[in-house]
């Protein structure tokens, strides 16, 4: 059943509506609830396919649905419609205004209503796609203050990597922080790349969502978990590579590759002069879980993230030396 979470009148002949689809069994279900959320950043579309796939599978076996599934495909309809990461009329990152404020401006009001609507869920999955610049292995990111609570759940979500990051004051304005503070176990997924849909990742995460649903008593059907994540709790295990020069990046390794120290990840070239400005190489042995996708780079642009060590685990996940 399509429901309006909140709506607000726009100046000229239009309502801004945040919609969700609520799926419940005919008997009303057991009261358990999962929320599948995406589209906070308008340029991240990987979650669109997941929202669709989850519903397709439920429609095929409605008898297996025991609880409530809420699908929120477009938290930021303005952004999605205009191919914009933030909220276009305000130049605002929606994931920096939570938990919102019902007495605040339009965006804060919408944010508050969204939090209000999701609160009460047993689990929530907030699906992101990094951004248009980077491609990511399917992964879950967890703030270390919720690590004990969320790692066991994240391990069941069929992703390849769970990354526990340091707490940051700025991240207190995210939807995940707001929901976790309200006792909704919320997992933030990053996978694929902005402005694209990677079907195999969508299918992989959908399998994971059904595992979570089974875990919470929302789904009684068969589930698949082919992926056991590598869990990283030590920030020193992640190596960040930033561009040393501005130029055009041409990658030679794909995400998921296993790297030896000094392996080349790509070249930064100068098309004006026909020269190579820099060779981007791995400083260590490890697993390339993030790699630059957008070719144009400024000095300092993020080129790659490498999980140091864990080579045997990564090899088991299909990582190969390319």
């Amino acid at each position: 059943m399509i429901e309006t979470v909140t709506q607000i009148g726009l100046p000229v002949d239009e309502q801004l509506c945040i919609k969700k689809n609520r799926l419940i069994p005919d008997d009303g279900g057991n009261g358990r609830r999962i929320s599948v959320i995406t589209g906070i950043h308008g340029d991240e579309l990987e979650g669109q396919y997941v929202c669709w796939l989850v519903q397709q599978r439920i429609q095929k076996h409605p008898e297996c649905l025991k609880g409530t599934v809420d699908i929120y495909p477009a938290m930021n309809p303005f952004g999605i419609d205009s191919v914009t990461r933030g909220i276009p009329a305000f130049d605002l990152d929606m994931n920096r205004i939570f938990p919102g404020d019902t007495d605040g401006d339009m965006n804060e009001y919408i944010a508050a209503r969204i939090v209000e609507d999701i609160t009460g869920s047993d689990v929530a999955v907030d699906i992101h796609a990094s951004n248009i610049y980077l491609t990511e292995i399917p992964q879950i990111r967890i703030n270390k203050i919720t690590a004990d609570r969320l790692i066991p759940l994240a391990k069941k979500a069929n992703v390849d990597f769970v990354w526990v990051h340091d707490a940051s004051t700025v991240l207190e304005s995210t939807l995940a922080y707001a929901l976790n503070s309200r006792s909704v176990d919320t997992l933030v997924v990053e996978m694929g790349v902005g402005m694209r849909i990677t079907k195999e990742y969508g299918e992989q995460l959908t399998d994971g969502i059904f595992c979570l649903m089974k875990e919470k008593g929302i789904w009684s059907g068969d589930v698949h978990t082919d992926h056991i994540p590598i869990v990283c709790v030590d920030p020193d295990e992640v190596e960040f590579l930033n561009a040393q020069v501005s130029g055009v990046f041409v990658k030679t390794r794909n995400h998921g590759a296993l790297l030896r120290a000094r392996d080349e990840i790509g070249l930064i070239i100068d098309p004006l002069q026909g020269t190579v400005l820099d060779r981007v190489v791995s400083p260590c042995e490890g697993w390339l879980f993030t790699v630059r996708e957008y070719p144009l780079v400024d000095q300092g642009s993020l080129m790659a993230r490498i999980l140091k060590g864990h080579m045997d685990e990564a090899r088991l996940k299909g990582g190969v030396i390319q």
């Binding site: 726009l10 100046p11 004051t169 144009l296 400024d298 000095q299 300092g300 642009s301």
Partner: protein, 310 residues
Amino acid sequence: MKKETLYEIKAIYRDDFRVTGYTFGEGEKALCIIGSMRGNENQQLFCCSRLVARLKRLEEENALVPGKQILVIPCANPYSINTKKRFWCTDNTDINRMFPGYALGETTQRIAAGIFEAVKGWQYGIQFASFYMPGAFVPHVRMMETGYQDTELACEFGMPYVVVHKPRPFDTATLNYNWQIWGTQAFSLYTTNTARVDEESALQAEKAVLNFMSRRQLIKTRAKGGYHSEIVHSTDFISVRADCSGFLKTYVNPGQMVEKGQLLAHILDPYEGYIRSELTAPVHGVISFVGDEPMTYENTAVLKLIREKS
């Protein structure tokens, strides 16, 4: 006056990105002033250009107090000003959400780190700042409530108001906040406008900075005029919100006294022109902000007031 490049990045198809600083006097790092950090902050750049011209003259007239150094950085983000983009051109990140920066991090983190390296360790710091909502503000000095703020010092600018602001999570990555944490007495100066240059309020800002410098014994000239500042908290601002969307027609200006119930604005239907809503003053007070966008969204704070003290 010494002009120097404080930070630079090489680009592939554009001229190098440069942050330029102007130093006046020699000796103790007394006052650092920074202007536009976003691509729409033309007024903030204009204010700094006036100060550079004024300080150059004062230095030539031997009117700077010896042993005190003043640094002015008119623009921390020329790339965005030149392309008329509010944030960083490539990835739309905001330099003023990256402080204290990270020299090995992403581009705007590096720029923030480069700027912070140049601006940290000064006794006083002034940033010409802008509000995220488009509109006109009553000129004021704003300070973060970090526990290190000295509001009495802020009164030395002689601006009508000193606003103390309790930082929200995203404020912790601003220059003002980090300046304070690192031991600089930091002030954000808000003039009336942002994108549009307003000479009158720029002149007021220039006088305010000179008053502050005079009272802090950084220049030999005497402070002139100015207000006896009223200290208010940002939570004391009362928002008048649009209860519907439409064309916004306002009837008041920043700094204007209003009576409770006084008509402040109308919201008009964009198709049929009738009055959709009438916005009135909820209290006796002074108008502190007037939105200037032709259209408003529902729930937007289109006006703000400071309640009149009884």
